[in-house]
Point group: D2
Chain length 348, copies 4
Amino acid sequence: MKVAVLGATGMVGQRFIQGLQNHPFFEVSVLAASEKSAGKKYSEAAKWYIEGDIPKEIASMRVELIDRKIIKDYGIDIAFSAIPAEVAREVEGSFAEKVPVFSNTKTYRMDEDVPLMIPEVNAEHFDLIKVQQKKRSWKGFIVTNPNCTTVGFALPLKPIYDSLGISWVQLTSMQALSGAGYEGVPSMAIVDNLIPYIGGEEEKCEIEPLKILGKVGGGKVKNADFSVIASCHRVTVLDGHTISVVVGTKKDFTVEEVKELFRKFKGEPQRMKLPTAPDPVIVVRDEDDRPQPRRDRNAGGGMAVSVGRIARKKEKVLRFTSLSHNTIRGAAGASILNAELAFKRKLF
Amino acid sequence: MKVAVLGATGMVGQRFIQGLQNHPFFEVSVLAASEKSAGKKYSEAAKWYIEGDIPKEIASMRVELIDRKIIKDYGIDIAFSAIPAEVAREVEGSFAEKVPVFSNTKTYRMDEDVPLMIPEVNAEHFDLIKVQQKKRSWKGFIVTNPNCTTVGFALPLKPIYDSLGISWVQLTSMQALSGAGYEGVPSMAIVDNLIPYIGGEEEKCEIEPLKILGKVGGGKVKNADFSVIASCHRVTVLDGHTISVVVGTKKDFTVEEVKELFRKFKGEPQRMKLPTAPDPVIVVRDEDDRPQPRRDRNAGGGMAVSVGRIARKKEKVLRFTSLSHNTIRGAAGASILNAELAFKRKLF
Amino acid sequence: MKVAVLGATGMVGQRFIQGLQNHPFFEVSVLAASEKSAGKKYSEAAKWYIEGDIPKEIASMRVELIDRKIIKDYGIDIAFSAIPAEVAREVEGSFAEKVPVFSNTKTYRMDEDVPLMIPEVNAEHFDLIKVQQKKRSWKGFIVTNPNCTTVGFALPLKPIYDSLGISWVQLTSMQALSGAGYEGVPSMAIVDNLIPYIGGEEEKCEIEPLKILGKVGGGKVKNADFSVIASCHRVTVLDGHTISVVVGTKKDFTVEEVKELFRKFKGEPQRMKLPTAPDPVIVVRDEDDRPQPRRDRNAGGGMAVSVGRIARKKEKVLRFTSLSHNTIRGAAGASILNAELAFKRKLF
Amino acid sequence: MKVAVLGATGMVGQRFIQGLQNHPFFEVSVLAASEKSAGKKYSEAAKWYIEGDIPKEIASMRVELIDRKIIKDYGIDIAFSAIPAEVAREVEGSFAEKVPVFSNTKTYRMDEDVPLMIPEVNAEHFDLIKVQQKKRSWKGFIVTNPNCTTVGFALPLKPIYDSLGISWVQLTSMQALSGAGYEGVPSMAIVDNLIPYIGGEEEKCEIEPLKILGKVGGGKVKNADFSVIASCHRVTVLDGHTISVVVGTKKDFTVEEVKELFRKFKGEPQRMKLPTAPDPVIVVRDEDDRPQPRRDRNAGGGMAVSVGRIARKKEKVLRFTSLSHNTIRGAAGASILNAELAFKRKLF
């Protein structure tokens, strides 16, 4: 299938390109970006941040302006989007009239008829697509993936939620620099320092997991009903978000039970052996001092979530630390896995 | 008064030396350390880590072996201790038979008859000294200061505890490298990384504040009765521990009320205008992105605690971020302030 | 004397403000910046990067637009300039028609009639001022200070040049992040990395020292005639440029002789005991592993140059490492010292 | 062939293990280390520093004590050595009595009859092996690879030396943390800092290239006769040494000629297509700001040397910057490539 990457020059765009290299289902046919980059060779338009050089066939591609006419010009079947939130409502909407759009942008995430998906967690939310297409008169559709931090704790919360129940969640994130984009955090701001604030992040962490863990029914999602309190920090790490999570459960548990829940957890992507599905999807670290971003961010090709420091701190109070790659599992890789599942389910 | 610094070559020892420079009450008369350093000039024995050079008169002093006979040899009035926990029970005890000992070491902290003191918070715990001297037949005594992380959240919890009551506390620390000692964290371990574990730290954070906020009576301390859950991390910051704190209060509050509680908070050190007492002791930051370690660790000469990100996350749930200098307010400076208060109260 | 700081919101502007706090000769009367900042309170316009908070009386000052009319409006006696090079020719020129301008900007540095000054090295270049005023019909004048890297090696080269002669110089710099401005180096570019290139820097390092060490005569400067080869790098250090220097001398030497030349070196600022003149101006470090940026950048209040690793690598080949604070001695502090000397010499 | 790794738990030992995984010629049969590790499982003895986990079949191997009897016990054909210099003379010698030893340790490097080899540069130095075996009555032999910094500039100097001649070399290194071993550089020493000194490094950089570029004849090496001046620094980079090199050549050149020399350069490993031989071995970067350690250290699987910033600074004066992976091309990978060439030449 022919793929367009919208917002191809940024860091998430680069991860889309990396993740789609030699992909068995998808082939990158067009790289699109804003006026600043359109018309340039990709290698001139993008500040490549991933180790190694730009793949050769990509480096020489001409960047197109983001505009729906590329669908026709290039015979595009689906689009991946990493465009800025300010323009996403209009742009992604215009593409979705014609083709499926898998978006990492926050804009549509909380729309009632749009799946906010972690395919191991809530694949049944694909049911919203029909509602969406009908309501909006689209031939295509939009499926979104969560915020880069949300995915790191919402995914391991799934087996806890199903087996033990959840009353409340508190989390403190220590987030990587790449989450802010290449120019996002000046070195003067962060060397020998950390920043206890990331604009809009706590709000996303507090609402997105409730939709993700919610039940779909009657054409919409009924949110899960526990409370989430999030405190988000930026630290001097290139890639990989670390999250310290404390969970109030409804049933009590032993540490071994929880480890077993994590280890056994599988979703449809694992069962269907999708090309980029990690197996295991949750990697349990038994060492005292793991997970660590530099050591664990590439587990499962950057698609696994590593958890450690699992402890029962009080009756019905679970503590664990999770670590996941913020621009792979937390962004581009998440959308690619969504698309793989949709493809296998013949949703387009 | 003539002062001995025990464990003078390490990082906390250096902060003792720095804090006692030109002190109106105390004068450093002897620097003591282990066999490895004893007999050398201080400048040869210590790997000075503080910005600038070793004070001249200190650099040329001869390091003595830690042994009680220095009390007599140098006419020592009090001792400050930053010695390893393994040897502290015997060594600090032997000194306390003769002179007051102000210790940063954890060994005696939880002993029933030993004050674990933040002088702004629980100055009345000095009452334990008489019990201690009687029970142990000591002429001197031991007063300890808390773990470097505990002080950063126990101090701002005091006005909350007094005015709103506390049901539970959850905290996540992001701790500085200096807390592990000069050789403690290899650069290979922490560049582009963080470590979600510090041995023994969570346990200390979970018990020490209960003693500190406890009531003294009948010759001992009745611990405060809320629960504390701590998750501790090492991050790539030289000095300054950051702690994200969530507190369940007994009474509800507004953010403005809490800020006012923090701003107005004063203890005996402030009222007595002790030489190293910061005023304000709690610095409230209203900016979104403060406190930050590099910007705020030296507030009040490293003796103030900066708090920010104050929010009411739910009914009776307060969130704030605190920042304090781990080797000044969290170690040497803490003991010096304890000694200043004891001096003014004529406890020796 | 009443002072205007032009370009007051940037990092060098902040160092001007810091250096002029409580200055015995100068008082900051107006802070001027571009349209983006003009009209705002200073605390809102500037991203303060120096440790601690903005001085109170500065924080509340209103930022003015950079325009010559502030000279009259505020009764300005002199101006310090840290404005962008692109606009400096016109703006600094327009101010110099009326008042003395001490500039950190590169634009006028190589103009034949403009002093490029390190006051310990070439104070006699002040003779150019009369030529400049006559030629340009200015009542004021412009005096520039060197590039932040140049000062760190040109200053210690002075006693070598005078006593041993110089045939050639090769230098490799490892420069601090602050040299690029607050937003200059993204953290994604520099964590676990270095960048072997700084635009325009090598060219400045290769020409500026020749003018500085040149002889003034007949109304202009005859450049020194040795060659300089420079290779410049950006490293993960906040403040403080480190330079490894190799010098071909005309006479041979011993290491002790060179250390003695450095130690004894004094200029007019030291002899006149100017307020911000460091003494010694060259700090000789005998340790194997010094100077280091974090340890030595604040020597002499950031105005001294620390040198170490002094070695005679071959006959007539000297190697040393120098370290100086790039935004103090290498920028704002340099201009302030120039102004102090001019003031004492009654040049305005 | 069955291989022993001596010093298997350290960082270079780990790179040996990584480089020998699935190797077509060699198979790791025994991991040997000092008493501290002997008897333990490898996963318990080693602090694995390479991204990802220890290869499974290695993790469970039992570490043996370094002792010649492992040759017989395990039927070892060759040994790779990363043992400390202090013990290497005896230990490596005792192994060489029986089997070929490929050593990264400095001890034998400058011995007259021992090859100090970069196989692309001086493969003919293998001729020393016969001399060595005869003189020492060894059945095996020792071949050494250069210091981690030397290889990064001696390799690109080869085509310059052959085509243009070399009069002198000056270099300034900015070396990675891993070069000092896992515990070598405390984070407190290097965050927001650099260290302008590495013990013994400058001496090695100044003598080793002369032997490497020397001519073998009459059973020994006649050193190349140019001078080398080295200044070595430690910077906050995990892996990858950057070296700024200035070369006085005998013939003049253009930048394009030099780039062509670099691009065309091949050695026997490339011609024989040895398993770990990179091709190209010298990667020429045309961008202003390359090579950079994080971007370029893994070029050619960590075996290529990247060069950039190539300039003709004066007549017959060449400047370039080189970058190579210090624990792969600069250590373990270097010895493996030596062994591959020896194997193909049937030297054992």
